[in-house]
Symmetry: C2
Subunit: 397 residues, 2 copies
């Protein structure tokens, strides 16, 4: 029975679990159909380029952010001179972030810079306290540690508000949580999130906490009197269920639906069958990894699409579809020309896996080193400033 169940296993994407069909990769087209979001096509990427007057981010050019909901409405409004705000977040469950964790923040920083808009970043320490059974204190400590990594991504302090749920829930934010909760039945959250009767009620209570930042009135110190301000949420597509629910509720409580721009998952070193796992340190490159760690992990664990002998490799070339070094370069090698060159050489067998891995190690080591240098400059005082409940002057200039 078990074997059969596994064979028939469908792909599963929820905020807590991502798994592909048995033996396969995540099918993102299927996901778009199932979730009912839209594909982010080239014309939208071109519009972003035109509106911002700068080259679109690698993650846009290469389809890392591949799906959206109403992103075109955001652009329409922007074109008419109406700004918006960005909302993203992180569940602080571990001390060290891996590269997959950085993806939404790198992209959000680009959006903030390109569109010159304010940004709120939610650290769901309450969620992690409940799901991972951490103490309140440990969740809050992790939230602050993670905030340092987030700040190290280069956000503009004059446009960015970072908050921990444990510190921030209350006031108009709590009022919005209640308004949202009133509109969602238990059966509905079971349908969306798959809770069971044995789950604790903290889980059932949480979706409105993640939904509330989608509405400007949750942040009176930022957006008082700006209830019409639209919200754009950059996130990985596993967070879509929260915002499907939020979008369902929004018109019933008199707010705009938040727009979304959604990424695929950054693959594990072992291959593209899901998200990286925080439980297996060898499945991911962490921002705390040394150059030596990175070299070892890539050489030892990064799944190769190369052939099993040099002869065969020269003859057939690498299978780029399953090759992790190429996938990682897709994310992080900014030079389009060089990337195209490597893909061609490797795909036709003129370049060997070892050479591609060598280049990837260089790219990642430099990136991680850069991140580590930036993080070392983030002081506790800077965290306090980013997390201070304050107005953001000149948010829209």
């Amino acid at each position: 029975m078990e074997a059969q169940e596994q064979e028939e296993q469908e792909q599963l994407v929820t905020p807590w679990k991502v798994s592909a069909e048995k033996g396969g990769k995540i099918d993102y087209d299927k996901l778009i159909d199932k979730f009912g979001c839209q594909r982010l096509d080239q014309s939208l990427v071109d519009r972003v380029a035109g509106l911002t007057g700068r080259s679109p981010h690698v993650f846009l050019r290469r389809g890392v952010f591949f799906a959206h909901r109403d992103f075109s409405d955001i652009l329409d409004a922007y074109e008419k001179g109406q700004k918006f705000y960005l909302y993203t977040g992180r569940g602080p469950s571990s001390e060290a972030l891996h590269l997959g964790h950085l993806v939404p923040f790198m992209f959000t920083k680009y959006l903030q810079d390109a569109f010159k808009v304010p940004l709120v970043i939610q650290l769901t320490d309450d969620e992690k306290c409940m799901w991972k059974n951490l103490t309140v204190e440990e969740s809050q400590r992790l939230a602050r540690e993670n905030a340092k990594d987030i700040i190290a991504c280069g956000f503009d302090v004059s446009r960015t508000f970072i908050f921990s749920d444990f510190d921030y829930v209350g006031g108009s934010f709590y009022k919005n949580m209640v308004k949202i909760a009133k509109c969602v039945t238990y059966n509905k959250v079971v349908g969306i999130f798959g809770f069971s009767g044995e789950d604790h009620i903290g889980k059932v209570s949480f979706p409105p906490v993640q939904a509330a930042p989608s509405f400007p009135s949750s942040f009176l110190h930022l957006f008082s009197g700006k209830d019409d301000l639209r919200c754009l949420i950059p996130c990985a597509i596993d967070q879509d269920p929260y915002f499907r629910m939020t979008r369902d509720v929004a018109p019933r409580i008199g707010y705009h639906k938040p727009a979304l721009i959604e990424s695929s998952f950054f693959p594990a070193l072992q291959g593209e069958t899901g998200k990286m796992s925080a439980n297996d340190p060898n499945s991911a490159i962490y921002v705390t990894d040394s150059g030596r760690d990175i070299k070892n992990k890539i050489n030892k664990y990064a799944f190769s699409g190369g052939q099993d002998s040099i002869e065969n490799h020269r003859k057939y070339g690498a299978n780029l579809e399953v090759d992790i070094p190429i996938k990682y370069l897709d994310f992080f090698l900014e030079d389009d020309v060089e990337l195209e060159h490597i893909r061609k050489e490797y795909g036709t067998g003129r370049m060997l896996t070892g050479e591609v891995k060598k280049r990837l190690i260089e790219v990642l080591t430099e990136m991680v080193e850069r991140h580590r240098r930036a993080r070392a400059t983030v002081t506790d005082e800077m965290v306090d400033v980013f997390m201070a409940i304050r107005p953001l002057p000149n948010m829209f200039n």
Copy 2:
């Protein structure tokens, strides 16, 4: 089928619905057994008298507060010089309070004065916003209006903190909500409160909000560093399910179980089959009723245990077990000697229903007038002071 179902209807007591067995009265002994609380016996009443050096409140002497959980532990600790704090509350669903609403507040004021302890009063405007489908604004307006009636009961501002959930939820209070929610499964709240899958998740999320004030760490401005302080909750017994849940959770999160002292329901004018209904203005005396209103309601609606003719009445006497004027005098006629006299004269038929009602009208009119005069002196500034997030100086002196 329906008739049969009604005949077989068991008594039901939840925070939202109270109904007796078909044709009967609430059976409080059965309730004590079902809920698993303890009867408040004469020896406890005597201990209260001894410890406080004053005559016990009418509601204690006459068994209006008839059940408890661990009240004896509170008294044991008090005897050793350890104080406690009081917690009670109100769901602000209507503008005008009726006499039944005043019962827990009158009793809580007595406890505060007799034991010289601090008091927190929760106004669950979030609950009423969710259950009664009021707007946030209307719930908050009602909370402030109700706060005026509560203050008019004479609470000591130097020992009393009144708060609205919408204003106050956050910080350490929210942290306790999360800690509590982690310990309670959905199946458990269904068992306790009878929620269904079609209920919205705001309802499922609410029990931790009412539980949190049972723990001193929810009020850092009052009880910082006093995590060991015990809590005593005076309330009507329909609130017991919340605190059964709270007591279950308390040791798992390192807190004392709150103690409870629980009242029976103030009966409707039409008879003692449940609580008064806010939906039928003729079922209750309101603090806004005029002398004429009171006279009319008592004469017209107060269910009489008197006989159907004067002859029979003189012969058999009144049935005091079902007589509402006598029940109301039990609550509000303070003079034990006079009450005993009336019971005897009326029970033996020497006194007529009209005479008893006349005395009741005097008692209630005076009480309601006194309340109205007191309420007229409660200014918005006073409400602000009672609701200010502040330390309470000399709480325990």
